[in-house]
Symmetry: C2
Subunit: 416 residues, 2 copies
């Protein structure tokens, strides 16, 4: 007996068995449907990127590159990183084909991303993330559209306005303030971090933090949005969308944001946290060429949204793609059963699995049930002779008889 | 001016811009449709796997693990490999949930796989591969079904029988022969390699190779298939499928095959090579537990099939998901245009992109054309007042006027 190895996946990543993967595909297809409805087109790239792509980005990114990425040297001495986010990749791709692409450009992708983190709830080492971006527009309408896509996706998942809140901030206001106060880069970072933690700390602690930085509280605590953000909020409210507010504490982590920033919060009292967000960045392609290209976008991860939907019972129940299981009383009938399915069911569009008849019928039916296939047909010599087959509903036990010519129609009309 | 970095992707991998990715999605959806039609369900896993998964597999795999994989040590001192093939992953997953899964089990997946190879035509460092497997059946009908799925996919892509040939061999016959002749493991490997190169070398060279191994030519050159393979071939011919033959030189690279093996060849005179293949393996889960589990399956890569389809003009032309582009004469109309689309087009199911009106109309139309969006609407004050809009076919230049209420219907009926 040889040494056995573990059947566990690598730490912090997931195996997707068919039921899990069906949920994953439901999330992806909802993302895709809404993005395409608003005119976005899908791109992809490899998970392997030159490591320099992340090093070039900005000082606040150093910690992520150094400590939180999978970076290794390949056999050709190239430093390679498993992409930790998609934005540098899409900036690279847009810069590479800038003359051909046509702007405004609406791009989306559903990449898997890798971070070397301690696995915990909502934070895995590999996750998938919808990335939605508009390149080549400075219009406020582009900012509003990006928020509207995020809103539309939440609604398409079945969330109601009361289930989530969109909080909009402005990096432009903050950046102006930093310039006005003459804050150093370090102090600016501390201010961002302080604002980011605003709702998690006491008013005293927040006030003390501001005082330490020499920032007076009234500079920050304004709840009056700047004009551009006010216009966006008004348009949403005019459209009957009331779960959107101005929140000056929304700053987002990345240094590349330059204007509107937003985060979508779960309003559940026990899980009042940020689900995802995005904002406007105006200089991302500058690491590749000298012509600035404005952009605005957001990213939405599969793990957090899956948790959000699961808690609210908004994930659809599993139904396999297979509509009917054919059981056969003996293995010699396998070819005939396959010919039957190939004539009366599959060409018509019905997904059929056939047992190979190696076990008794009751065991074959158990397989159908384990696979959650809704209907069963037993095909024996009688059925082949008469051409009439009995369809059993494996949930209710109900049975109906059809001629082979009318069989496909029954399955195609299900759920209509 | 700071140093600029390259906008090229990492060596040997691909960027998928929307047109490329649409082709990719066409290939994936064709794979998915046929696999599901025959009762297969989709699973996925991470590209990150413990390196031991590949080391345990078999001696002939050593070269691949040592020299052709991306393997690195993570920050927690775990040796990690980017999966070079999917079979060990699915064997791991099936072994882990063996009691729950229900057999026969039909599984498929479309993973991306990584090999550290010199990039060349048809061999990239990252490619996607359909994996189709049946677990838990020793039936000859399972072998036949796996070949039939491969055949069905080729036909679903539009290939005709004359475009490809299915060559079926038998590892069982070869394995018996090796035992009979008492060949060492090394000699057996050499014999496999010799058979694999059979069609590429001269008859003399082939004969000499056999002689060197002490194998008489008549042991190998039989063109009479063993009984099980003969039955499979007969069933296919009975079904009118004539591009399937017995070929004793088909051996496949991996050591885990134990029975039927097959490869699908391109019949194009300038590209008469193997496109993909598979076969029966009966011991794959044994590295995880002691109970053997039979399996049969195949893998089909995106790069070779894409080349095959491109040469024969079988790839569909690109059509973007976006059906209509709305241009506006001034940026102030962006909100109103968005409201219009949100009332008369998007809820009905029409995918619409709206220009933000930052450039003149002719430039906006150029964007629609670059994006290959088939129709254009210009929404100005007149259209908002009258409620009548002109739809321009951007290919023919033809224009039609619709009331806003009948607009969606026009787009939804296209191509019906």
């Amino acid at each position: 007996m040889s040494k056995k190895i573990s059947s566990e996946p690598y730490k912090g990543v997931r195996d997707f068995y068919p039921e899990d993967y069906a949920t994953q595909k439901y999330i992806f297809s909802t993302w895709r449907k809404i993005a395409e409805r608003v005119g976005y087109v899908e791109y992809e790239a490899s998970i392997l990127e030159p490591a320099e792509l992340y090093k070039a980005k900005g000082a606040d990114n150093e910690e992520i590159v150094k400590e939180q990425t999978y970076t290794f040297v390949d056999r050709g001495d190239r430093e390679v990183t498993l992409r930790p986010e998609m934005t540098p990749t899409v900036a690279r791709m847009v810069a590479a084909k800038r003359r051909e692409l046509g702007f405004p450009l609406r791009f989306f992708s559903i990449p898997n991303l890798f971070r070397y983190e301690r696995p915990q709830r909502g934070r895995l080492r590999e996750h998938w993330q919808l990335n939605v971006d508009i390149f080549g527009s400075r219009s406020l309408a582009a900012d509003a559209e990006i928020i509207a896509v995020a809103y539309g996706i939440m609604r398409a998942f079945g969330a109601e306005n009361k289930d989530f809140e969109i909080r909009v901030g402005s990096r432009a206001v903050l950046n102006n303030l930093i310039t006005e106060l003459g804050l150093s880069e370090d102090s600016a970072k501390q201010l961002f971090s302080l604002l980011d933690r605003r709702t998690k700390i006491s008013a005293e602690e927040f006030g003390q933090g501001l005082a330490d930085l020499g920032v007076s509280a009234d500079k920050i605590s304004s709840n009056e949005p700047p004009e551009d953000i006010a216009k966006i909020l008004q348009d949403f409210r005019d459209a009957g969308i009331d779960n959107i507010v101005y929140d000056p504490s929304i700053v987002r982590g990345f240094s590349y944001y330059t204007g509107m920033v937003f985060e979508v919060f779960d309003t559940h009292p026990e899980n009042n946290r940020s689900l995802f967000g995005g904002g406007r960045y105006d200089n991302l392609t500058q690491m590749f060429d000298d012509e600035p290209l404005p952009g605005v976008g957001f990213g939405m991860g599969d793990v957090t949204i899956r948790d959000f939907l699961a808690v609210r019972n908004l994930l659809p129940p599993y139904t396999p793609p297979t509509k009917v299981y054919i059981a056969i009383p003996s293995p010699e009938l396998a070819t005939e059963a396959n010919t039957f399915a190939g004539r009366y069911l599959r060409p018509q569009g019905v997904n059929v699995a056939i047992d190979f008849g190696e076990r008794k019928l009751s065991d074959q039916i158990k397989t159908a049930t384990k696979h959650k296939i809704p209907y069963l047909i037993v095909l024996g010599p009688d059925e082949f002779t008469s051409g009439n087959v009995k369809v059993r509903d494996l949930t209710s036990g109900e049975e109906k008889i059809f001629t082979k010519e009318l069989l496909a129609e029954f399955f195609l009309n299900l759920g209509k």
